[in-house]
């Protein structure tokens, strides 16, 4: 991700040539500060990253201010030797002489530098794989593990724990520590979503810096000294801002764990699917962790153009409805099951062909994928129907949360499903129903009784087709009810508030006979219009993009994992 950042930042004027692991590398002299964005001197760890060498680290995080307290990134390095005349001492062949840094009082012992906080300078040589560097890492790890409880079997971090990984990669097989370990509080209730195990903490202070500098809630800190140094909150003040669960992500060990995910499933069982959060119009990139068709967690996925590597707690925990037991699982007609999809769609197609123009309204949802909204728009054009999708407005914050709680309001605009702001046509539809001008209603993915069309009003129209995921007042009245899929159960695209077109993939199977809306809408539209609509999201997207001005030059394959910007 940091690599992404460097690629995207404007090329700095000045570069410095240094030697890393014996190879000459040209690196920018400065790089933007993660918090302020101002150029600051490039550090050794960043230079190594550019050179393609990962220096092990705990406290360093590319999106957080540098603290330099874990010492894990210690590397041996050398500087060009200076003569008394402040001129470089040259070798016999004319190259500058480089001296490995050693302790001033112990000239045989190499002096390492923490790569995360040491700026590079011209002629510098870094030895990230030298024996001395390896020994320093080994010793640092030994020191970090002195009081570590080694309770990996009961630790949720096991499997994605940096302490485990570096111990295997850089540590020793055996512990020399024979004394009694210092014990610290376990199962500390830090806040409504966070559980802390102080024994596992390696005091890297990532969480402290995140809370202070990113979440702007200076809630965490260390107390006591030496081996008794302990992470804690202010007494009586819970750690409960809307971004607390990010500390769980950045905690390199199992000290901070999510109460929601705690002891639910081991991480190595989770299938990771690239997806997008649907809780607001920001469209944070997420990774869905699922196993055996059950979703266990959302985690933020790095995307500097959208959410860097953070997401809000609210969005992160908004997944449980997908696995609810009362999901709609079978197509129904007049409230009864027992019809097949083919039957239902054929019947619908016949019914739709009987409609008179301008007597139909289609209410969609800005939570549907762009492809689905496109299909609905096409259906509306065919029936000469009035369309709209309800708006969802909530509170915004300074970091990620957007006031628009629909993930795809811009998708509705781009496809023309909503002509202006979502929800602006709803009152007109209600009036037309009341006056009898609209005789048929199609509702996809919304409970219209909560958006100005009361249950009583619904009785005045023929509720031809309703599709939803969970049962509600509208689905009860549907003539034909088709079960849809949640975003985690299908593929598709959303366009976020800033006009970024993002793709999400399928993590789990939809329950029962539920199908992606894009699939059955495409089938229905193919019959109704006589034009062929592909029922797979790739084909559908490409067809839509070819017909839509804003998406004109985008193909499904071009979207990639990080999405592309489109003009709205």
């Amino acid at each position: 991700m940091a690599k992404q950042a460097t690629e995207k930042s404007a090329p700095p004027v000045e570069t410095i040539t240094i030697k890393i692991d014996g190879k000459e590398v040209e690196v920018p002299k400065t790089m933007p500060d993660p918090i302020t964005g101002k150029p600051v001197a490039t550090t050794m760890i960043q230079a190594c990253k550019i050179a393609g060498i990962e220096v092990p680290h705990y406290c360093y995080h590319p999106k957080l201010p540098v603290a330099g307290n874990c010492r894990m990134c210690l590397v041996e390095f050398g500087m060009p030797a200076m003569g008394r005349d402040r001129k470089p001492i040259l070798n016999d062949d004319g190259t500058p002489q480089v001296r490995k840094m050693t302790l001033p009082y112990e000239p045989g012992t190499p002096r390492g530098a923490i790569a995360c906080a040491t700026p590079i300078s011209p002629g510098m040589e870094i030895y990230p794989n030298s024996p001395a560097t390896k020994q320093m890492r080994e010793s640092v790890l030994e020191s970090l593990l002195v009081n570590h409880p080694l309770d990996c079997p009961i630790c949720d971090q096991a499997g994605e724990c940096k302490l485990q990984e570096y111990s295997v990669e850089h540590g020793q097989a055996e512990s020399k520590f024979a004394e009694t370990k210092v014990h610290k509080p376990k199962q500390v209730d830090l806040g409504p979503r966070i559980m802390l195990d102080d024994e596992r903490c390696i005091l890297c202070s990532r969480c402290v810096r995140f809370s202070k500098d990113i979440a702007d809630d200076d809630a965490l800190g260390f107390v006591n000294r030496g081996s008794y140094n302990t992470l804690t909150t202010f007494p009586g003040k819970p750690f409960d801002n809307n971004y607390t669960l990010n500390t769980v992500d950045i905690c390199p060990v199992g000290a901070l764990t999510s109460k929601d995910f705690r002891f639910q499933m081991r991480v190595w069982f989770l299938k990771e699917t690239k997806s997008v959060c649907t809780s607001c119009a920001t469209g944070c990139n997420i990774t869905i962790g699922s196993r055996e068709e059950k979703i266990y967690r959302y985690e933020p996925r790095d995307n500097d153009a959208v959410n860097a590597c953070w997401m809000c707690d609210e969005g992160r925990l908004n997944y449980k409805w997908i696995g609810r037991k009362d999901r709609l699982t079978a197509p129904k007609r007049n409230g009864r099951e027992g019809i097949t999809w083919k039957n239902a769609i054929d019947d619908l197609a016949t019914r739709l062909s009987e409609f008179e123009p301008k007597t139909t309204a289609i209410i969609g949802s800005a939570r549907q994928t762009t492809e689905e909204l496109y299909l609905l728009k096409k259906l509306a054009d065919h029936l000469d129907a009035i369309t709209d999708a309800p708006a969802r407005v909530g509170e915004a914050d300074k970091l990620l949360v957007n006031a628009d709680k629909n993930p795809n309001a811009n998708g509705a605009l781009v496809t023309g499903f909503c002509s202006g702001e979502p929800g602006s046509n709803l009152s007109k539809i209600a009036t037309d129903i009341r006056s009898g001008k609209i005789k048929q209603l199609i509702v996809i993915g919304e409970d219209v009784t909560k958006h100005g069309i009361s249950a009583k009003l619904l009785e005045k129209v023929e509720l031809v087709l309703v599709s939803d995921i969970l049962p509600n007042e509208t689905t009860k009245k549907a003539k034909t009810l088709l079960p849809g899929s949640a975003h985690a159960e299908k593929r598709g695209t959303f366009i976020n508030v800033k006009g970024r077109l993002q793709r999400f993939l399928k993590a789990v199977e939809a329950p029962g006979d539920a199908r992606p809306e894009s699939e059955f809408l495409a089938e229905l539209l193919t019959i109704v219009s006589g034009e062929s609509y592909p029922s797979n999201p790739e084909g559908l997207f490409n067809k839509m993009a070819a017909e839509t001005k804003a998406l004109a030059d985008v193909k499904w394959a071009d979207i990639g994992d990080l999405g592309v910007d489109v003009k709205i």
Binding site: P149, C152, P153, I154, A158, T180, K181, V182, H183, K184, P185, K186, Q187, K259, D260, F261, R262, F263, Q264, M265, R266, W268, F269
Partner: protein
């Protein structure tokens, strides 16, 4: 390789030596002590290190040793093991071990008695014991759940008792 067929003598070709030796062998075996074991009454002495059915054990303090780390579930080649983790609810009874499986299933129809679960277990909570003839009247019956596994597994003498030791140390340092 060509094996030359032995030329048979006149006497051998009469087939009588074959009959005689055949008779000798059969008579010898007819009167020999029989090797059959009268199974349900007589049973093998199961040797040390025999890999029979895997069961869960408790330690001498009657604590369920399994902490639901799910390594056995991960390593199990036929996917016979299914563990239901306890979930986020804090269980006071488990003390500093924090975790105990909500359910632990071994499908004995799937189990191949490879012993990987025992080998991988960091808590010495599962052992391949000496049971070798498992019977049941349905597939469901052959899925052994946590209670049955613990009952069959019995107690395992733990010489280290690492969790109890940790607890003791923590108490001595004034951390409850």
């Amino acid at each position: 390789m060509i094996v030359q067929r032995k030329e048979l003598s006149w006497w051998e070709r009469l087939y009588i030596p074959a009959i005689i030796s055949g008779f000798r062998v059969t008579v010898r075996h007819f009167f020999k002590k029989k090797v059959t074991m009268q199974y349900p009454e007589e049973r093998w002495v199961v040797p040390e290190g025999y890999r029979g059915a895997p069961y869960l054990v408790k330690d001498q303090d009657a604590r369920t040793k399994c902490v639901s780390c799910q390594l056995c579930e991960f390593v199990c080649p036929p996917k016979a093991i299914k563990i239901t983790p306890p979930g986020p609810k804090v269980n006071k009874s488990t003390g500093n071990v924090e975790k105990e499986p909500a359910d632990f299933e071994i499908n004995m129809l799937r189990c191949i008695f490879c012993g990987f679960c025992q080998e991988v277990c960091p808590e010495e909570a599962i052992f391949l014991q000496k049971d070798y003839s498992l019977t049941g009247e349905s597939r469901e019956e052959m899925i052994y759940h946590k209670d049955k596994l613990l009952e069959l597994g019995g107690t395992h003498q733990d010489d280290i008792m690492k969790w109890a030791k940790k607890n003791q140390e923590a108490k001595a340092q004034g951390i409850a």
